[in-house]
Symmetry: C2
Subunit: 512 residues, 2 copies
């Protein structure tokens, strides 16, 4: 069985898991029945407890689906606390359904799998030792990778049914009103976790900071919460943000960023009330800086900036160059801090951000998005999931979701070390080429041939080097040569869902 992007899929597995092959990025107007949680009624009782172990015993049973959010990123203390208890209690056959898995969780996920506590995983991504462990076939069932919007969709239509959500928060009152904005371990928007709070049958908040009742703003509400557990520390503030958002001095990144900005500024989308998502990382931050200057120079203001938010973006808000920041997660402390001082920085949940089966998500309104790539191929398909060695070391994140923007720009270096970024065929397809409009590398740009409008406009920009994607691929190949084809074993270790729930690619066990 091959799907629309020509990927061979394991027919038996597809049948068994009731999956359809990817058939294109269009969503249409299906009518979808949403699901809702079971609620154990509580009338006024205090929910504050101090033993996490007691709560795990009361809530988690063999075979359940449990969830976590990844807003603490590598500063997360919550996941390991809970998983330690689960493993030690001998609970088995859980499905792990976090919004994503960060490196700090790897060790206990691996231990959980080895001891039979975890038998299924769905996540946005995974990296390091866990990606390696999964890629070597050590989990019986395939991991299901979903985009942030795809996870929201799957939760809302019941494909992910969360029995217990363990949600770390930097503050909560005794009944469970909580937000991400105050306390030691602030991370700003609770965007991904809001799905779990709304849809899980049982919701356990874990915090190091009990505040007076009632706590507002209540991103998570007492009506959604069963237990509030007080612990010493929920996270390491220094490791939550991606650190100081310094302007890159890497000349390659600066060159890419400057070219991305020229593509944007010369497109038809760069006009008053345009919208954009830039993301994090050196080049993306640099784009924001160039874009700022272009907006000032041209007297242009944006209607909104979307996505994972960084301080350079909230600075645009403060400056009045952006009217609203629609914030599903904050990548640094500056962006998190801005949230409680600027009412125009609106917290949005993952559904509002990007659920494809919605009455309209923010990504549907996006004019311009800048995304990264581990690999991009001559069909403009993008891989952000596996390395060129076939090992899982990435995350879908919002990549597929935001790529629905009117102008989707992938920025990536032509090669990384001895490895080509632009390839004849990416190792794993996460985002289909039909969603991608322009690739920007340090040597020049390539425009998706179907975007004849962009080719026409951008060809007139003096000094903007335009190549075909095949030319860029050849250039890369010239630099680093042709790699040996990867060899795989038969076992499928992961399935990559497209944002509509179809399968866009599979990842097979690597050969040692």
């Amino acid at each position: 069985m091959k799907n629309k992007v020509n990927r061979q899929l394991d027919e038996k597995l597809m049948d068994q898991l009731n999956y359809q092959p990817f058939q294109g990025a269009a969503i249409g107007h299906p009518v979808k029945q949403r699901v809702a949680p079971k609620v154990r009624v509580s009338t006024g009782e205090d929910k504050l407890v101090d033993s996490l172990e007691d709560v795990v015993k009361k809530t988690v049973k063999d075979g359940m689906t449990i969830s976590f959010h990844h807003h603490f990123r590598n500063g997360d203390f919550v996941f390991n606390k809970v998983m330690r208890i689960i493993i030690d209690l001998g609970i088995k056959n859980l499905t792990l359904a976090p919004s994503s898995l960060t490196g700090v969780m790897n060790e206990l996920v691996i231990e959980g799998i080895k001891k039979g506590a975890i038998t299924n995983i769905t996540s946005s991504g995974m990296r390091g030792s866990l990606g390696d462990f999964i890629s070597h076939g050590n989990l019986e069932n395939p991991v299901i990778f979903r985009s942030h919007g795809g996870r929201a969709r799957a939760i809302e239509n019941g494909e992910i049914k969360i029995d217990v959500a363990f949600l770390g928060v930097p503050n909560a009152d005794r009944l469970g009103n909580a937000n991400g904005r105050f306390g030691d371990a602030v991370f700003g928007s609770l965007g991904y976790a809001l799905m779990d709070a709304q849809y899980a049958d049982q919701v356990v908040l874990i915090t190091d900071n009990i505040v007076p009742y009632p706590n507002t703003p209540a991103s998570i509400k007492q009506t959604q919460v069963d237990y509030v557990v007080k612990v010493d520390k929920v996270g390491d503030p220094d490791k939550i943000g991606s650190g100081a958002t310094r302007f890159t001095k890497d000349p390659k990144e600066l060159r890419i960023a400057e070219m991305v900005n020229r593509v944007i500024v010369n497109s038809s989308y760069f006009k008053n009330d345009f919208s954009f998502q830039t993301g994090s990382g050196g080049a993306a931050l640099a784009v924001t800086r160039y874009l700022r200057q272009s907006m000032i120079d041209n007297g242009i203001k944006a209607s909104f900036a979307l996505g994972g938010i960084t301080k350079p973006t909230t600075d645009l808000l403060k400056e009045g160059l952006v009217r609203r920041v629609m914030d599903v997660q904050d990548f640094d402390k500056g962006a998190a801090d801005s949230m409680h001082s600027n009412p125009n920085q609106q917290e949005i949940d993952a559904s509002w951000y990007a659920d494809a089966d919605n009455k309209g998500a923010m990504v549907d309104q996006l004019d311009v998005v800048i995304l990264s790539a581990l690999e991009i191929d001559t069909k403009f398909n993008v891989n952000v999931m596996t390395g060129s060695d076939g090992v899982i070391r990435g995350a879908v994140g919002g990549h597929q979701d935001a790529a629905t923007a009117k102008l989707t720009i992938i920025c990536a270096p032509l090669v990384r070390g001895r490895i080509a970024t632009v390839t004849p065929d990416v190792t794993t397809i996460v985002t289909p080429g039909e969603s991608v409009d322009v690739l920007v590398t340090e040597v020049g740009i390539a425009i998706n041939p179907k975007r004849t409008d962009l080719i026409k406009i951008l060809s007139q920009v003096p000094g903007l080097p335009i190549y075909t994607i095949e030319e860029l691929q050849q250039l890369a190949q010239k630099q680093v040569g042709t790699p040996k084809p990867l060899e795989y074993q038969d076992k499928v270790v992961a399935l990559i869902e497209y944002r509509d729930g179809s399968i866009i690619d599979q990842v097979k066990q690597i050969k040692d």
Copy 2:
């Protein structure tokens, strides 16, 4: 069949509608399966249309349940616009399920019933010509009256399944992000309407004020909205608020308010971090003023004020005497205006406010509430639904819900004109006596005998006149005599749900 408060219920009707008799105010810890709407997927399309008629044609079919909110109160232009179209299109057999019905809607509801457009109604209340019309048996099926919390519960568990919600808002963007805080027809909190927005299959926003995208704060979100209809005017600002909130000069009201305040201040609940709900009306506003002074004099600050909010309450917030205002609706423009200037005035939905089948509603946390009564009887049962003539002219509102407070005070004059307020048996029971702690009238107070603690404490307050409820009833009877017993016909014209969904009383057709 008699229920716990000794009311005779029509057994056949109870069976037919699958109702249980009221068995007591305790809620317990049942596990409840929530329901969820069907969503017609929309990816980025503009939702703005200018023909309300087209939208009604597209969305409303015979036999459906349609809903409205009553936040515009008697300034509402939305209900009549929609109902006019529905009647003229000849649509039949609708169930009308608004958060409540205000007088300005009466005429078209009656016309809708006469023409077969409306065959079922559930509401918080009704008054004037409509109450009279229903009380005379002119609707085939009984009206179901529910409290604000009861409606939220019924929507969340599927007893009310809204097919189309028509929600008027003072602002919205082209995709349906909206709030109640800006525009000509502001009313502040959208608390009741948030239930409809979340649970209705189809949501139609109606506004006179299209604002730039994206509109924040988004009390109603684009993910919930199918159509945005632009009309000339959604409401009459002058009739939305209850007008200037002047301090009453009525000596009877002042005497009641002063006594209510003494009851509160001398109770064990008057201490730092206490919470209260006062409501609107002359006496209630006066209570807020007395309470303010007592708080200042005693150095006491409240954790939160709840409920329908008035300017005197938001003034307490501004002054720092109240830490949070938890706001499900605003009774005047002052309270509505305060909402967008004070982040500590938190908008809450009707579920968070008062759903009994919740993981904890605000009313469960309430220390003190002051409520009104049309009648109160010697069992402390309260009627806020029918006049002493048996005609429907009231609303359950939040009465049953807030009466779950630790100290529930009913304030009412002993008699109104030639009619006793304190009676041997109320005409219709809305709130059971077991929820009521103290009655305050202008001649003195009566304490529920089961509250021996309050009797002990309040008996020591110098100059506070304490009677038994029977004594107050006798005093009232002496003033106005004994009325002739009411005569009814057999037909049940309305059922009063308790907040848990059981039936606490029925209303029969009156005899002319």
